[in-house]
């Protein structure tokens, strides 16, 4: 097996045998999906069309924003990256392969939701599967980029949790998941425009649900695409092998520039 295959295979298995990762990749989001779908469909039957986009974005958030950064920080703190470096493992593999394997776990969990929601909760399937793939791919791309960036810049695991929750919690409240964006007004809607989940739901509605590609949808596509590219570029630029060796090519504050496309989105949306 070549180096990429060996590394990918190891990281993929880690996502299943490491308990906290298994929890973030599958147990937590799938349990949440079952409980919330059961409750919401009883309380509000109009929630059914939102089950698939909401729960798929939720899965992506838990695995890539809550699950992905912590192992990166722990590995750096434990000197694992140093072992990798002296054995010729490239920096790109160190950040990209965990992102790829976590993305695969997120896709598996998303598929479980997409194909069981119509059976158990009478949720409508996407009408445009190509649109669904674009929604899934872009959502994963941007969240993976942000997850890796959090993992790269966080000084320790406590800070990681703080950064992750800064995206996760507002996404749940004002990011179009539990409350549709159309119901949010004023400041809350503006805050929602800073969150990738808002744009993901927008893309789902436009492409997968067949509402059509309007200006908002094009803007959402652009924001997620640029946000993802920027996040990966910044993560690669700010990557450091070692907690003891704090030499970076730039200040960790530079990572905040990842907000630029979302700020533009906020101004235009």
């Amino acid at each position: 097996m070549n180096a990429f295959g060996s590394h990918f295979s190891f990281e993929f298995r880690t996502g299943l045998r490491d308990r906290p990762l298994l929890l973030m990749n599958y147990l937590f989001p799938l349990s949440f999906y079952i409980v919330v779908s059961l409750l919401m469909t009883q309380l509000n039957p109009t929630f059914r069309p939102n089950i698939i986009p909401t729960m798929v974005v939720f899965v992506i958030l838990t695995s890539l924003i809550l699950g992905l950064p912590n192992p990166l920080v722990s590995a750096r703190e434990a000197g694992i990256f140093r072992s990798y470096r002296v054995n010729g493992v490239p920096a790109l593999s160190v950040v990209l392969i965990p992102a790829l394997t976590t993305a695969v776990h997120a896709i598996i969990a998303a598929m479980i939701i997409t194909f069981t929601a119509p059976i158990f909760f009478q949720a409508p399937l996407p009408v445009n599967w190509a649109g669904f793939v674009v929604f899934l791919a872009l959502s994963i791309f941007v969240m993976a980029g942000l997850g890796v960036l959090i993992g790269v810049i966080s000084a320790n695991t406590r800070i990681t949790i703080l950064w992750s929750q800064l995206i996760f919690l507002p996404s749940m409240m004002v990011g179009g998941l539990m409350i549709p964006r159309s119901m949010l007004t004023g400041v809350l809607a503006k805050i929602g425009s800073l969150l990738p989940s808002t744009y993901s739901v927008e893309i789902y509605n436009a492409l997968a649900r067949g509402a059509g590609l309007d200006t908002k949808a094009i803007l959402s596509l652009a924001v997620l695409l640029v946000g993802g590219i920027l996040a990966f570029a910044l993560a690669s630029y700010l990557f450091s092998w070692d907690s003891q060796n704090t030499t970076r090519r730039g200040s960790a504050l530079l990572a905040l520039s990842v907000l630029a496309p979302f700020l533009i989105g906020m101004a235009l949306l």
Partner: protein
């Protein structure tokens, strides 16, 4: 003498205002075990990390078999095997996975024979976090040897190891030396350095204060040679006995213990005294100053 495989010239590295390594230079010859000694904070690990490509030197030139660790990190990692002082592997990575993983990055087939050699074969399926410190160190060593590098860099390799594991590691280091592999060893264990190293350099506050073979270093010190002797009739225990060259003498459990700066003359006098008193030797030991004593002497001198 052949061309050195490791050449360090005017290496300087500081962290902010703290000068960790101050303009040091040394050469390591092919097939030798070279010890880098010093107390904690002397600059050993920083020096090694500059050699391993983990840190960028502020100044100076390093060549490892002609490879510049700053400019050609990829080639460097195929030239050296590294056992780091502080490093780890992912907790859930098994011994077998680790071997496959690192061999894949070095572009070589997995070296399961090394797992056999280092007593890790039956632990192939064990996860890293379940291994004892000794087994984790052995695994790190197996991984550093997997791509058959001509140079091994070891940073405190026996730290945390029990006595049998230390002995095994020393045997393995001797075996590697006999196969022509060069070992650069950083340690603060003087007994280990004295036993294993062909040459040593003592680092103190970022500077190399002395370089040489352990024998050369111990011979140049002012420390005294300890002579311990016991005889059948205890004729040496008489208080009026004078021994030329001996600076101090004491009696311990019917043994005469004296510390001599001229061991030849002292021994000659002891033997003459025994013969004169029709006595016979039961036990006689001559212990030259250890590298540890010499090291303490050097560090005390420099501290003054």
């Amino acid at each position: 003498m052949s061309d050195p495989v490791i050449k360090v010239l005017s290496l300087t590295k500081s962290y902010g205002k703290f000068l960790a390594v101050d303009n040091i230079g040394f050469d390591v010859q092919p097939g030798e075990i070279f010890g880098l000694l010093g107390p904690n904070g002397a600059g050993k690990t920083t020096t090694l990390e500059c050699l391993e490509g983990l840190r960028l030197p502020d100044k100076g030139d390093i060549r490892i078999m002609g490879v510049d660790p700053v400019r050609n990190v990829r080639r460097l990692h195929n030239t050296i095997g590294v056992q780091l002082q502080t490093s780890g592997l992912p907790a859930s990575m098994t011994v077998g996975e680790a071997m496959r993983f690192f061999c894949a990055y070095h572009g070589v087939a997995p070296r399961y024979d090394l797992l056999d050699r280092l007593g890790l074969r039956e632990k192939t399926g064990a996860q890293y976090h379940t291994l004892s410190t000794g087994l984790q160190r052995r695994l790190a060593l197996a991984l550093s040897l997997a791509h058959q590098p001509p140079i091994i860099i070891m940073d405190e390799p026996t730290a945390g190891l029990d006595v049998p594991s230390r002995v095994e590691l020393h045997e393995l280091m001797n075996e590697l030396r006999s196969r022509g592999i060069t070992i650069l060893l950083a340690t603060h264990d003087m007994a280990e350095a004295e036993k294993m190293a062909d040459r040593v350099a003592i680092l103190l506050r970022g500077k190399i204060v002395v370089t040489g073979t352990p024998r050369e270093l111990t011979a140049t010190g002012s420390a005294l040679t300890k002579v311990t002797v016991s005889t059948v009739k205890n004729s040496l225990l008489l208080p009026e006995l004078t021994l030329p060259g001996a600076q101090r003498r004491l009696v311990q459990d019917e043994y005469l213990v004296c510390f001599s700066f001229d061991v030849g003359h002292t021994l000659k006098a002891i033997l003459a005294h025994i013969e004169e008193h029709d006595d016979a030797i039961i036990d006689l030991r001559v212990e030259r100053p250890s590298l540890e004593e010499r090291f303490l002497e050097i560090t005390t001198e420099k501290a003054r």
